[in-house]
């Protein structure tokens, strides 16, 4: 089965310069926990409710002065709409991700694929391995990340401009 048949089509995306307050309104209105960050439909990153919890609210940041590019995860890994679902599962497993933006051959953002979308559409053993590996590797990454101190928002704001040179297959 192709990624195209399983992905959810994002009806919304946000611009990196949008204040978090507005981004939160969009996520709330469309009832999503994850929204692609785009400029002219080119993918720059991903913003999740977890980013907002950990990088803004937990630190007492201001939702009107903080912008999407301060909190988003740049340099994202993506998959292609005409790829096989099993390949997408392999990317998720290897890169420890639970969601992948989906691009067409022109590299426009056309959808979002979550590990849940794969459920039942790839062989059970592949799904189970994807689920477990992505969880275990993530746990390792988190503990490694905890050793380093987090970059401040201003650093991130500068970073996304350089990071997003080729965010598609990072």
């Amino acid at each position: 089965m192709k990624v195209k048949e399983l992905m959810s089509v994002p009806i919304e995306w946000v611009h990196p310069s949008l204040p978090i307050r507005e981004a939160a309104r969009k996520m709330r209105a469309f009832n999503v926990g994850c929204i692609p960050v785009c400029e002219d439909r080119r993918l720059l990153g991903i913003l999740t409710d977890r980013d907002i919890v950990c990088r803004l609210v937990a630190n007492g940041g201001n939702a009107d002065d903080t912008h999407v590019y301060d909190l988003m995860t740049g340099n994202v890994v993506a998959c292609l709409e005409d790829q096989d679902a099993r390949d997408a599962a392999e990317i998720m497993r290897a890169k420890a991700l639970r969601r992948l933006p989906v691009l067409d051959r022109q590299r426009w953002v056309v959808g979002l694929l979550s590990v849940d979308d794969l459920y039942g559409s790839i062989p059970d053993d592949v799904f189970a391995a994807t689920m477990i590996d992505s969880t275990i590797v993530r746990a390792h990454q988190h503990s490694a990340a905890a050793q380093k101190s987090r970059q401040g928002p201003s650093h991130r704001a500068l970073a996304w401009r350089t990071e997003h040179q080729d965010p598609y297959f990072g």
């Binding site: 939160a24 926990g33 999740t48 409710d49 950990c54 937990a58 007492g60 459920y119 559409s121 799904f127």
Partner: protein, 140 residues
């Protein structure tokens, strides 16, 4: 595996609980520090009042409330679906699948919170069994 009980899955857990008067900012800080996706809101007797997740935090910002002033009582999801410790993993997975959520509090017969299970506490076999039950594999 499929018959594993909730009590076994949550054995080593100390669930993150907060009082309804705790603020949204405090809850988010705990979620960040403990790397968890939800906090349980309980009263003095450890009885479950509600659950607070990242979705709820985004809603707080969207509604222009101040996370430092807003208390969980006002923004938590009240009376979430729960499971007793004797239920099996497959029953928990089915509840999550049907309800479309990722966290289910485990509540004892006396009504006190003893843990919380999330989607990622489960292992392959239980997922397989759910596939068989729902007949999804036929789509292959």
């Amino acid at each position: 595996m499929t018959n594993r009980q909730m009590s076994e899955i949550i054995r080593r857990q100390k669930p993150m609980t907060l009082r309804p008067t705790a603020t949204v900012r405090q809850a988010c800080r705990r979620m960040h520090e403990r790397r968890i996706g939800a906090v349980l809101v309980t009263d003095e007797q450890d009885r479950l009042l509600g659950i607070f997740t990242g979705r709820d935090a985004v809603r707080v910002l969207a509604e222009a409330r101040d996370p430092v002033q807003t208390v969980l009582k006002d923004v938590m999801t009240r009376n979430p679906d729960t499971l007793p410790p004797g239920k099996t993993a497959i029953e928990a997975l089915r509840l999550m699948q049907d309800g479309g959520f990722r966290h289910v509090p485990v509540v004892s017969e006396e009504g006190t919170v003893v843990g919380v299970v999330s989607r990622f506490d489960f292992r392959g076999l239980e997922q397989d069994r759910l596939d068989e039950e729902t007949g999804y594999w036929e789509r292959m």
